[in-house]
Symmetry: C2
Subunit: 363 residues, 2 copies
């Protein structure tokens, strides 16, 4: 089960690193890659040899930069692999096909019936995946599913809440693998989102938080280049952080939860106050884990992103006045409404990159 030798992991990590650099789009030279990975150019030749044999990379001509042999350039081959990403919510499923670089090459969205029973839900997801599997080129690696609420990534089970919930305890991954016969991965929406965002800004989100505003509030973290999953794959649930003692009643039974306050403010049209709630959470989070980038994403945030980002920037500037060396960049997600679906697809692609994932196939 375990890879025969730890050298595999060295190689895997280097392969993944080269692909990550190449994913930025620009053709790269051996020297660039050697610099980026901290290995000799000769090692890069071997790594590129492996990747080219798998069809993931290809030569991209050469440039003359003075005397001497011209530099040979290499590029990633986007169409060599692809993955399907599904974003599941209570009311709809958004699906995308992403190529090896994480670019969306196709998308579909369907509405689903309220409180759909599990077998029907699986069939809906499978049908969506089958339709998408005909789109795009390259070897199809599998299906990633991102959904809100507690998810056990290792087992691929949706844990559900104690409130009446028809999907509670559903073995979504196992059932989808059986229905589709291809590898499937299940993850929490906020974590899928940060993976997707990390892919579209390679190298920039080593220490970053992604604040996700969908039906609830989520926040996922990338610290030191690693996505935080937590002891029970339960990280990211900031929705019930209390921001106002004795505030608005929340469905969780308490008062002043961030997501209750946020939604209540939005409903009564007080965008400024909703933004304030968001800003409070972000500032606390920056203080705790010291991220230098905060990305805002999720369906609910796009309509009001300007005042929200301004509020967050203001709160950070105000709150970090004593620590001027701490600069935090606040930005909007580059993925739009595809964010979570494409993130789930990227998690599948990471498996091909040689990174550890919870992707599990049939048999």
């Amino acid at each position: 089960m375990r890879p025969s030798t730890p050298l595999d992991r060295v190689a895997g990590a280097h392969d993944a690193a080269v692909l990550a650099v190449a994913r930025r789009g620009e053709p790269v030279s051996r020297a660039d890659l050697a610099e980026a990975l901290g290995v000799t150019p000769q090692a890069i030749s071997k790594i590129l040899g492996r990747l080219m044999e798998r069809g993931l990379m290809a030569g991209a001509g050469s440039i003359i930069s003075g005397p001497g042999k011209p530099t040979t350039l290499y590029r990633i081959v986007p169409s060599s692999r692809r993955a399907i990403g599904l974003h599941l919510t209570r009311t709809r499923v958004r699906g995308v096909v992403a190529d090896l670089t994480g670019e969306v090459v196709a998308h579909r969205e369907i509405e689903i019936g309220h409180r759909q029973p599990v077998p029907e839900l699986i069939e809906t997801l499978a049908a969506q995946a089958r339709e998408l599997s005909g789109l795009g080129e390259g070897l199809l690696l599998g299906v990633g599913v991102g959904m809100p609420g507690p998810v056990d990534v290792a087992s691929g089970v949706y844990r559900g809440t104690s409130a009446p919930d028809p999907w509670r305890g559903a073995e979504i991954r196992r059932m989808l693998v059986e229905a589709l016969g291809m590898p499937v991965l299940l993850d929490h929406d906020s974590r899928a989102a940060i993976v997707g965002e990390t892919w579209s800004q390679p190298g920039l989100l080593r220490n970053a938080a992604l604040v996700l505003v969908e039906d609830g509030l989520g926040a996922s973290l990338s610290l030191d280049g690693t996505i935080v999953r937590g002891a029970h794959s339960h990280s990211g649930e900031v929705g019930h952080t209390v921001v106002r003692m004795d505030g608005v009643a929340c469905e969780c039974g308490r008062r002043g939860c961030a997501q209750a306050e946020f939604m209540a403010s939005l409903e009564r049209g007080d965008v400024a106050d909703a933004a304030r709630v968001l800003a409070t959470i972000v500032l606390d989070l920056v203080r705790l884990v010291d991220v230098d980038r905060v990305v805002l994403g999720g369906r609910t945030v796009y309509t009001h992103h300007e005042p929200m980002m301004e509020a967050i920037r203001g709160a950070l500037e105000e709150g970090l006045r004593e620590e001027p060396w701490v600069h935090v960049e606040v930005m909007l997600s580059t993925r739009g409404t595809d964010l979570i679906a494409v993130g789930a697809a990227c998690e599948v692609l990471e498996h091909e990159y040689g990174l550890p994932t919870a992707l599990v196939g049939p048999e």
Copy 2:
């Protein structure tokens, strides 16, 4: 500068892992270690060979466990290496000598004058270190310094606050290296603390938070076995998390900061309310990063640890009622008042273990 081959890192990681297992105290067999590291017993022989050559481990007899050749046991040699740890506050310096297992073999505490100028401070620290250097056995690896407030670990500089602060911008590491002629490491107190605690509970704190209550409030994280340091080595500052909008005025200029509320409650003897503040922070933190262990430490907390821990346990039970699979263990630090000093010493020891640290020596 860079290690000649990545194989060094494989070896280094394995060496460190073996030492981490051996640190638990019980003698271990080749088979135990092979199981723990996920490598073959044959590889363990090679790893142990390296470690024994360096004097870090030694044989510990053999036991007969049925038919066949008896199992040879190995143990760590605590007295083979040692490190000095200094815990610097505004009023005193606590120093310890820790052996290779992170056990304290000696400690000293001295008071320091209020608002001591930097050159004097360095001489105080150096004198403390020189005195400690005569205690304990084994090769002295260096000095670790843990202190509150913003610290730039990479450069070894205390950044200070914008309030009048005589130590602001002091190049503490460089000056200490020059004064002592041995490697020195400077880190934030809350991070030193979690390193110290991780050492005394090997393997148990893979996903843990350490809440430090000294003059201020701190919280450091160990996620997936890695200590969170942040983009500007500024993680852990939860003291100014707002828990009560329009609460007690804080020296930072805002109202309702956790540490202001906590201290105000303590001063008027309302331990229950102070505990509530702590519990709020812990619950939010658990929701965000999903740690399964919370350790309480720091001078201020020991006198009231019972009600504080109960309050935290209560808040967690209450707040996680919907997620019964999330169990969080709440415990008191095992290090007592040595916590930060010993943690700083452990950070120095980690360098010998082959782990990356900010330990920098002379020349």
